[in-house]
């Protein structure tokens, strides 16, 4: 018997399984045995596949049937098979010298979190754009630089409210990971929208989640000096406003410098005229919150601005969003050591910033106004008042291709389901 043939995950799984239970595994055959069987020539495994696939299949079937192992499929690019075997038969399989390694066939959950697939960011990744190298500033409560999901991608962080910029609240870390978390601590489950973007974090809000406009303005200037391409502002003051205040004016000035600025609409909905500064700024992308059923959240602030302009510009998912939890904080509803769930336009805004990063990784020459136009013109129309939904719910893949997103399924008929969804909406208030 050779326990080293078992993967760590398989060893852990075995501790919870009875001998008669079946488990899914992937079995890799040894190079030496394949050589001895005449299935491969004297070449490296890296040059695989050099053999007759049928011959390999027969070899594997003979080996596995002897041990009463149920074969699911054989692979071509690696000398291995997927199978199900009883826990009691594992030792016999390990003892066979033709077997080199046995892994647990793990469920793949790369995009289990719902909001990122909903806005079809993974389809942009498939096209080769993951926000790689795009510089995104998160101006917020700071960031947890030790979280595994940010490893190697925090380019700079600073503080304008004392301390060293570490997140002592949790909000900034949550926001940053929606933009660019790698999902490393969740095997990719809670991966952000642009998982290869670079992060710049300016702490402008204290541990209680509040701060002053002038500190936010200082954070914006720092981000501009750092040469960022996107600024995320999941913060603001109560509305309404007309976009001429200093913070809004500075946001517009940052846009004039070629930086796309995404700003939270606020959580003062559903009343109209509840978007404050800097969400009322003219040139920014003001973001409201929707849920996974593409309904605008009741809490999401509504337009118009006090000078009569339509806002928000767009909505993105912002209800029950699971993302990174900063060490030593308990913002939202913690799931475990590394993740927590939270709701708010704060959570919707980094979805927009992530989409901007994806677009800029695909087309770096886009101006902020072109980015805004692309995102808004390709949004999924939810057929609501523009001062509630903006242009609709943003879609990363449509913004990338320029095509209209697929229509949502028709709404359910009135009845129990509608009542249930209404209940869920009411239960999903911002944190």
């Amino acid at each position: 018997m050779s326990p080293a043939k078992r993967s760590v995950e398989l060893e852990i799984e075995l501790a919870t399984r009875a001998p008669a239970e079946e488990i899914p595994v992937i079995i890799k055959y040894s190079h030496e045995s394949l050589l001895a069987e005449g299935l491969i020539g004297d070449i490296s495994v890296a040059a695989w596949p050099p053999v007759d696939y049928e011959a390999l299949t027969q070899f594997a079937e003979r080996l596995l049937s002897r041990l009463r192992i149920r074969v699911l499929r054989h692979f071509r690019l690696v000398p291995a098979s997927a199978a199900k075997l009883k826990v009691a038969d594992l030792e016999a399989l390990e003892a066979d010298p033709r077997v080199e390694k046995i892994w647990l066939d793990l469920p793949v959950q790369a995009w289990l979190d719902t909001s990122v697939p909903l806005i079809r960011a993974p389809k942009v990744w498939e096209a080769g754009y993951t926000g790689q190298g795009v510089k995104v500033a998160v101006i917020d409560t700071g960031i947890d630089p030790d979280h595994p999901d940010f490893a190697g991608r925090i380019a700079a962080y600073t503080s304008f409210v004392g301390g060293d910029g570490r997140d002592d609240h949790g909000h900034g870390t949550h926001v940053a990971s929606i933009i660019a978390g790698s999902g490393a601590a969740s095997r990719g489950k809670y991966r952000g929208v642009a998982p290869e973007a670079l992060l710049y974090s300016a702490k402008v809000l204290r541990a209680d989640g509040s701060g002053m406009m002038s500190d936010v303005m200082a954070g914006i200037e720092w981000a501009v000096e750092q040469g960022v391409q996107v600024i995320n502002l999941s913060l603001g003051a109560p509305g309404p406003c007309d976009g001429t205040d200093a913070l809004s004016t500075m946001c517009d000035a940052a846009v004039d410098r070629g930086i796309a600025v995404c700003v939270a609409a606020g959580n003062m909905g559903p009343s109209s005229g509840t978007i404050g500064s800097p969400g009322c700024a003219r040139k920014v992308i003001t973001v409201g919150a929707s849920n996974d059923e593409d309904q605008v959240a009741d809490f999401s602030s509504r337009g118009p601005t006090s000078d009569g302009r339509t806002k928000p510009d767009i909505v993105f998912p912002g209800v029950n969003i699971i993302a990174c939890r900063a060490q030593g904080t308990s913002m939202g509803h913690p799931l475990n050591e590394h993740y927590t769930s939270a709701s708010g336009t704060s959570m919707a805004t980094p979805h927009a910033s992530g989409v901007v990063a994806l677009l800029l990784s695909a087309q770096p020459e886009l101006t902020p106004s072109q980015v805004k136009e692309k995102i808004m013109s390709t949004a999924l129309d939810l057929h609501l008042d523009p001062n509630v939904q903006g242009a609709g719910r943003g879609d990363a893949f449509s913004a990338y291709t320029g095509e209209t997103p697929p229509s949502p399924p028709p709404p359910p008929p009135p009845g129990c389901l509608t009542a249930f969804l209404t209940y869920i909406r009411k239960a999903s208030q911002p944190d």
Binding site: A237, A253, S277, S346
Partner: protein, 82 residues
Amino acid sequence: MCEASLAEKLRSLGSQEVDLIVRIRAAPSEYISKLEQMGLRVRRQFTLLKAVAVRGKAQDALKLWDEPWVEAVEEDKTVTIF
């Protein structure tokens, strides 16, 4: 433009400390000493916008309304997470 309602509020606050953002018609660096002579401490100077953040007594801040180089005065409001 300096809002009358803000001036009224400052008058009612008297010697209490207030935080303000002052937008200036020229380069802010030229007016730092004048602001300090008024009794206002300059917390931050901005470059993207011709503005400074100041802190001082409300009664001292009212002097800003008399200065032609001051374009606008507004409260340095509290912002919060959303």
